[in-house]
Amino acid sequence: MNVMYFAWVRERIGIPQEKVETEAATVNDLIAELTAREDRYAAAFADTSALRVALDQELSDFDAPLAGVQEVAFFPPMTGG
């Protein structure tokens, strides 16, 4: 699946997006996988209460299932307007 990062999440991880091969069942499982990879992911995902997630361009929850999802995006709370 395509995993995207925005704002300080993108800066902390160092890339705007990447293809991830995963069997993760939920967003939380995916975060656990990424966090185990490298420190920069652990730093970005240290406090998920400071993060939001979108699945296929719709805001979602960290316990949401990933079955059938093509794009996951992680970002801080939005500051539009």
Partner: protein, 146 residues
Amino acid sequence: MQIRVQSEPFDAGVELNGFAQNRTDIGAVVSFTGVVRDTDGNLQEMLIEHYPSMTQSAITKIAQEAVDRWSLADCLVIHRHGALKPGAPIMMVATAAAHRAAAFEAADFLMDYLKSRAPFWKKEITDQGADWVAAKDADEEALDRW
């Protein structure tokens, strides 16, 4: 309903004059323009990042809810991204309705939702460095009003 996400500047006066122009069944037009604020006098620019494949659909969903809920005759949302200078317009909403209460309320609702549910992130570049603007608890709480 018109939703525009763009890096180019816009002229709020021109937009407002062209808005709901041919409608004779409305009694009220309300508009809001958001401007880049330099609170401490040291802002060089505001960088606005967004999530291109989500932005248009997220704003459309919010605007459609406003149109349905307040029976708006028309609704306009413009939101910019990219590097903006202090004083530059960031975004604009306009609502047209039969009566002013609906037009004001719908514009207020749109602003509250665009602030916390449209995928934009602001970064301030100042003399001291660069910082992401943090979302405020009050902005999230404002959604409970609706």
